[in-house]
């Protein structure tokens, strides 16, 4: 029977990769996404515009403006000359952040008094605004520290695994998992629906292949696609983007295989409850969008409300991303990753057996 299974798998590849368009659809998006997203998906603030209303004009404010303009966060300084204009720069989204130096700013500072200054940020983009304000605040603190007496103690910050807090180091390992998701799910979920629409499914069912074999035949290509796409992005991350790779390659591959199995389970489950390609596709989508959101990629899971934390427990992506990050940044070995690997396997077993049950019911 193993040889028959092999034939089934070969056929699956031939069907999936045989059509030029379908092939392009599996390859092109991966390349494009690997090229674009690491640059796009960043929460850093760079090249933004800072609006300044300098009522003061003293030496301190000029010095500070000078320093602000030299940070990477602000590439453009917009000088305005009244409060209304300052507000308008925010209203019109011309500036992310607006700073007003009050009339007595320099005088206060020279006199050793606390010098208040007002920072306005755009609440429509409050996250970026806060981050930008954080950068500005660092500039101010440094300036104050230089002028003031030496502090008795300091706070030293060290960022482990990613010393410069480079966002790409965070995004690329996550993308290995996220981009892989689409290809694997689409291939597994839609292929059964397509066979059903095209009538070839019946032809398989009357053959000596049992439902379990048919499912295995569908799962293996999905897993393979996950592993191949994932490895491609991983290689691009390590060589193209220069990420350090400190963990073990076998772990990375094992992680991808387990993740692929979990996804194949989900994909097959979706396909066994949908009647046609359209439903399967929308089902994939309905699974994928929340799965990415809840994976901890955009925001940490521990910050979510309880309910969503529970949902995230069932999200295979929330295990795969830490494995990938562990491999790249944290020098993970199997021992470190075991607590992430077994949940993936558990998800795979649950979804695959559920899909098989539904399959059998559908057939009989």
């Amino acid at each position: 029977m193993l040889k028959r299974l092999l034939r089934l798998i070969v056929k699956e590849f031939q069907v999936t990769l045989g059509d030029k368009r379908a092939r392009a659809m599996l390859i092109m998006p991966v390349i494009l996404q690997t090229l674009i997203f690491p640059f796009a998906a960043t929460l850093e603030v760079k090249h933004s515009t800072l609006a300044i209303y300098n009522q003061d004009g003293g030496q301190a404010s000029v010095e500070l403006i000078q320093r602000l303009s030299h940070t990477a966060a602000f590439s453009r300084i917009l000088m305005v000359h009244d409060d209304g204009a300052l507000q308008e720069t925010i209203d019109r989204q011309q500036a992310l952040l607006a700073i007003r130096f009050p009339m007595d700013f320099s005088r206060n500072l020279t006199a050793g008094r606390t010098a208040p200054l007002q920072v306005l940020l755009d609440g429509r983009r409050s996250n970026s605004g806060q981050i930008a304000a954080g950068y500005a605040s660092q500039v101010f603190q440094a300036y104050a520290a230089e002028r003031g007496a030496k502090a008795t103690s300091t706070l030293s910050v060290r960022n482990l695994y990613n010393p410069n807090l480079d966002y790409k180091w965070h995004i690329l390992p996550s993308l290995v998992a996220i981009i892989t998701t689409i290809g694997c799910l689409i291939v597994t979920a839609l292929s059964v629906a397509r066979e059903r629409e095209e009538g070839t499914f019946d032809q398989l069912l009357v053959s000596p292949l049992t439902p379990a074999y048919i499912m295995a035949g569908k799962a293996v290509p999905g897993v393979t696609i996950a592993v191949v796409q994932g490895s491609f992005i991983a290689v691009a991350a390590a060589w193209g983007y220069g990420l350090p790779f400190s963990g073990s390659v076998p772990l990375l591959l094992t992680g991808l295989v387990f993740y692929g199995l979990a996804l194949a389970g989900v994909g097959l489950f979706i396909s066994s409850i949908s009647e046609n390609q359209q439903q399967a596709f929308l089902g994939v989508f309905a699974f994928m969008a929340p799965a990415v959101m809840l994976s901890g990629y955009v925001a940490p899971i521990e910050n979510m409300p309880r309910f969503f934390q529970w949902v995230a427990i069932c999200d295979p992506l929330s295990y795969c991303i830490p494995i990938m990050k562990g491999c790249f940044l944290k020098d993970f070995g199997f021992r470190d990753a075991w607590h992430l690997l077994w949940p993936l396997l558990a998800i795979a077993i649950v979804t695959l057996s559920a899909a098989l049950r539904l399959f059998r019911r559908h057939i009989a």
């Binding site: 040889k3 028959r4 089934l8 056929k11 031939q14 069907v15 095209e198 032809q203 069912l205 009357v206």
Partner: protein, 582 residues
């Protein structure tokens, strides 16, 4: 043979029409010139890939001619389509209505699209619904209609707005004889009202009823004229072997192997032969048809003309059966119940699709399952091959219940689905490799078997062609090849010849006969009544019930009356179905 279209009454004029889909590729239509007279029904016949659909689509303005002209009612369908579309009705081959809309919603849509409103709309709906007998089903979703009803609804939709020209692309495919007769009756009435109809069909008995026929092959019109005039060449070439004793299929096989015989079929109790030349008859003794057998000259049919123009049918011996081993059943298997239905029922909700059906099929028997569209024969069929679970009763194959079972039983059966069901995206070779592979053929055995299939079905030139791009006839051949490669002991064929031209159909039945001779048990469904004659026994299913079971002769005899002492299979079919209604 092409008559110059001089007639002033020509509604459709085609001049030197060429259509190529790829600049370098072969012409789908090659210098076609023809005309269609006003108020006539013109039949378009020809084998698969002859260019019938392309011609109709070009007439409907859906394809741009590569060169040449088409004029319908004096208008160019491609450039003046806007003016013309209101005047023509077109029914594509594939059911083109919305399955998620009800019958009435479909009608409403097309009425609005064709600007049929107010009183005219009310009247035409009334007429159409009466015409098609769809009145009780107006609220039913089109997707839930039976095949025949779908075709009738499709026809009704294309008739809205009283078009002057009606283009029909194989409306009879997959439709049972009763519905086909009704379709024909509808169209005939319309033509009498002055409508010009072009009707493409694979049924030559249908084409024979047309006023005019265009026989196409390789993108050219090979012959045109009234059916009667086309038959002139066949004078004296059609014979019946009457009063024969012994097995008709065997007689036919021997006859087809005779050099004098071009083609042959089973027709009722007789075997019908088409000779190569009028004078040269085969030696009656060599046919071994019994002492009383005689050769009687009969009227030629259009089908004979068709076969004759295409160079004759296949020989009597199946290349397939030569490479099939003789079936040896498991000693435990009852040879009289290789396939068995025991009080089989299937309900979907409160609808009973199959209702208490029982039958047994013996080893080497060809068992035909007939019935109108939607009568439940597909359901019965699917239960027998394990694709549907019976609500009650048992579907047994070699004494084994397939639903509980096991791959070993499935290993011994072959299945060819009604809908084309091979991987269209794969090449012919890859399909062969795949299907032989999942049945466990490996290496040398697989290679040899594939080679045998390629030879038996003449697939050599297509090995690297994508299966989806094959002509229909070859698709069906490949499907059969894939179903028999693992040398099954029994085989299920669900409408294997639907939409296929007569020559290919002959070939199929030669194979089926050949398989049966080797002891393969065959269960087959069909809408072609002449094919039903090839079966050893027939089960007629209507409204889920098995209303008749017997040999073709028994069924026919059952409906014989003094006015109709020799009913055809079609007569028997209609009579039995209508009898069940009474």
């Amino acid at each position: 043979m092409i008559p110059a279209p001089t007639d002033q009454d020509l509604t459709i004029e085609v001049h030197d029409l060429v259509k190529r889909f790829h600049a370098e590729g072969p012409a789908a239509l090659d210098q076609v010139s023809t005309g269609v007279a006003h108020g006539s029904i013109t039949g378009l016949v020809g084998p698969d890939g002859a260019g019938k659909t392309t011609l109709l689509r070009t007439m409907a303005g859906l394809l741009m001619p590569t060169s040449g002209t088409v004029r319908i009612l004096g208008l160019d369908p491609f450039r003046q389509g806007n003016l013309l579309r209101e005047k023509i009705g077109y029914m594509p081959q594939k059911f083109g209505l919305y399955e998620d809309l009800t019958v009435l919603e479909n009608l409403d849509l097309y009425a609005d699209l064709r600007n049929v409103t107010g009183e005219e709309r009310r009247r035409s709906f009334e007429k159409m619904l009466a015409f098609t007998d769809l009145a009780p089903f107006t609220a039913r979703f089109a997707g839930k209609l039976s095949g025949g009803m779908k075709q009738k609804l499709g026809l009704a939709c294309s008739l809205l707005g009283s078009p002057q020209v009606l283009l029909l692309d194989e409306p009879g495919v997959g439709v049972d004889p009763i519905s086909r007769r009704e379709l024909w009756r509808m169209v005939r009435e319309l033509a009498q009202g002055g409508m010009t109809v072009v009707w493409s069909t694979a049924y030559l008995d249908e084409a024979e009823l047309c006023d005019d026929v265009r026989l196409m092959n390789h993108g050219r019109v090979m012959a045109s004229g009234a059916p009667k005039t086309l038959l002139g060449l066949l004078e004296g070439r059609c014979l019946h072997v009457a009063n024969l004793a012994g097995h008709r299929r065997e007689v036919l096989r021997r006859a087809l192997n005779a050099p004098e015989v071009m083609d042959g079929t089973i027709q009722g109790a007789n075997v019908r032969l088409l000779l190569r030349e009028a004078g040269r008859r085969p030696d009656l003794a060599s046919l071994e048809a019994g002492p009383a057998a005689t050769l009687v000259e009969v009227e030629p049919h259009l089908e004979d003309a068709f076969i004759s123009l295409l160079g004759g049918g296949p020989g009597g011996d199946s290349a397939l059966s030569k490479v099939m081993p003789r079936v040896e059943l498991d000693p435990h298997t009852d040879p009289h119940a290789v396939i068995e239905a025991r009080r089989l029922s299937k309900r979907f909700g409160d609808f009973t699709a199959t209702d208490d059906v029982s039958f047994r099929v013996s080893k080497g028997e060809v068992f035909g399952l007939l019935g109108p569209n939607g009568a439940g024969k597909s359901t019965t069929f699917k239960m027998e091959c394990g694709l549907l679970k019976p609500s009650e009763g048992q579907a047994l194959v070699m004494g084994i219940d397939l639903k509980s079972s096991p791959s070993e039983a499935r290993q011994r059966l072959g299945y060819m689905a009604q809908k084309f069901s091979l991987y269209a995206q794969l090449t012919v070779m890859k399909n062969l490799v795949f299907f032989s592979g999942i049945y466990g053929l490996e290496e040398e055995r697989q290679r040899v078997k594939i080679q045998q299939m390629v030879e038996a079905f003449a697939l050599e030139p297509f090995l690297d062609t994508l299966t989806g791009e094959l002509p229909l006839g070859f698709k069906q051949r490949l499907a059969l090849a894939c179903a028999v490669m693992h040398e099954p002991q029994l085989i299920f064929l669900d409408e294997p010849t639907s939409g296929v031209d007569p020559v290919t159909r002959r070939e199929f039945w030669t194979h089926i006969n050949g398989l049966a001779q080797k002891g393969v048990t065959v269960m087959v469904t069909t809408h072609f009544m002449d094919e039903a004659e090839y079966c050893d026994r027939i089960g007629l299913i209507y409204r889920g019930r098995l209303i008749a079971l017997g040999t073709p002769d028994e069924l026919k005899q059952g409906v014989a009356t003094p006015d109709r002492p020799n009913p055809t299979m079609e007569d028997a079919f209609i009579e039995l179905v209508q009898g069940a209604d009474r």
